[in-house]
Symmetry: C2
Subunit: 349 residues, 2 copies
Amino acid sequence: MITLAVDCMGGDHGPPVTLAACRKFLDRHADARLLLVGLPDSLRAFAHERAAVVPATEVVTMDDPIEVALRKKKDSSMRVAIQQVKDGAAAAAVSAGNTGALMAIARYLLKTLEGIDRPAIATQLPNAKGAATTVLDLGANVDCTAEHLLQFAVMGSALVSVLQGGEPTVGLLNIGEEAIKGSDTIKKAGELLRSAANSGDLRFQGNVEGNDIFKGTVDIVVCDGFVGNVALKASEGVAAMIVDGLKQEFARNIFTKLAAIVAYPVLRALMKRMDYRRYNGAALLGLRGLVFKSHGSADALAFEQALNRAYDAARNKLLDRVRAQIAHAAPLLLPVEPLESGAAAMTRS
Amino acid sequence: MITLAVDCMGGDHGPPVTLAACRKFLDRHADARLLLVGLPDSLRAFAHERAAVVPATEVVTMDDPIEVALRKKKDSSMRVAIQQVKDGAAAAAVSAGNTGALMAIARYLLKTLEGIDRPAIATQLPNAKGAATTVLDLGANVDCTAEHLLQFAVMGSALVSVLQGGEPTVGLLNIGEEAIKGSDTIKKAGELLRSAANSGDLRFQGNVEGNDIFKGTVDIVVCDGFVGNVALKASEGVAAMIVDGLKQEFARNIFTKLAAIVAYPVLRALMKRMDYRRYNGAALLGLRGLVFKSHGSADALAFEQALNRAYDAARNKLLDRVRAQIAHAAPLLLPVEPLESGAAAMTRS
């Protein structure tokens, strides 16, 4: 039996969406149990033999500053859900709430794994091969050292091998010939990744560029959280612009509207392939417990996908795998020289 | 009369494309003259009363390392074209060659403007408002200080006000709520930009995210070259994936192929709106002379657009405008505290 703790209050829609997803999820997974965390009044209507309500008196909003979520709302549904993981009552927690707050609370309660300085957020993006590219970090860390990027590569490899099988390939996000190729951090990260590949810890394929994420050149793309976040949002922006442009062009006049009717099934097939909901469920990696983040705007289908990913990760013992891969790569993860200024504040746990 | 120096050998296609574009350009601009720079044998066939061949004996290839382009090929078409600008024989130079080499040679020959530490590459991307967003830097600088980002904002504002008129708005590329909002550099850049806005030097609108580039939230988006390059390439990657996906879905069977015929005019209209060729012609800003960079893969239509942009910039005295705006913002551009390690190597010219 796999037990997940669900922050039912999180996200833009709260219980109407999260509970609908929970019901479908339970119907499809006979060996799953859910701990529904939230305000009891909001969850009263839900009844299922494999679900139990865990009460929480507060809710972290999308606008709450991290400090408020962490220090003031100590009985939030988000925090209580993660506490279930810490206490061993659940194998993973899922929330569609405020990402910054989720990461801060998860880190505070669960702590980072040995050998990991900073947790990372890993998500999947569709690629031209009809598969998904896993990208990390996506916003947890704005300044990363070469060591951090290596840690992200090791954790990302564990995630993808557990969820998709095989030995996934890794690329380091860099820029092309337009400049000196990358900063000192990126160059050093490249060296560390090559060493890891030589010791059999990773399948490092070298540098990749922004477009390689969507070409599917490698299974995993590693970058710092600032760059990853910008790349993700820029990509979403282009996709939205193209979809809006299609709608506008097809709505232009009676002829284009007729064309839209004819083309609709084809466009629908394309949209389905690129549907971000299929890729919902980002992993917070590097913690002593499994936490998955859903898009705040997720509908029931998308939120269910986040539950599925948490379930797969728990069932396939992602945490053990990450721990083992980190341990194996440990000699490389030790700092080879004193860390520079920006890294001085970090603590190894 | 506006004279442009054209590196006719640059780009993936060389003279067949560049010369075809030059001919069209001359036909459309009765007050323009071109200096066609390249191997005389390759340019012999071209004859026009407002064009003259300037011979060069070497060609910088797309693969040439910067040092080779800069130190070994001293008679390259790229370098000779920029030399025309330095000598005052041309008002601007245009090349579709290797970006890194072009920036290095331009910087070496022309030097940076007073008050500018580093030149930047500014390009336009289509946005949902049917206009263009100017983004800089796109790869000239991998590590930027807050001061550099302010300089980019000032130069970008001058570029857009000269080419499009009005007082353009500026946004600072940052990440959303997913983490502590931005690095120290970004926070400090935000402060500098706000000061500049208060002194009337800029119309700074605050932080923007990756998707705002394509929403058209602001006229100009400022970022470091690493982030800008990744955002640009990720965006190109998504667009390519969607276009390929459309082609695949429409080619699936006889019904979808018929739908494609019906939908073709609509899709064509959309492609035209998003056609990168309309936005070809990136400006190298911050130099004591105008240099424009065309996509290496540009066809004649795209290369002509780069020529048009160089022509507009020269005719509207972009260099004077940049110089004036830099001078006006000079008090802000002076370092307010000693520059950190990474910036120590920079020289003010």
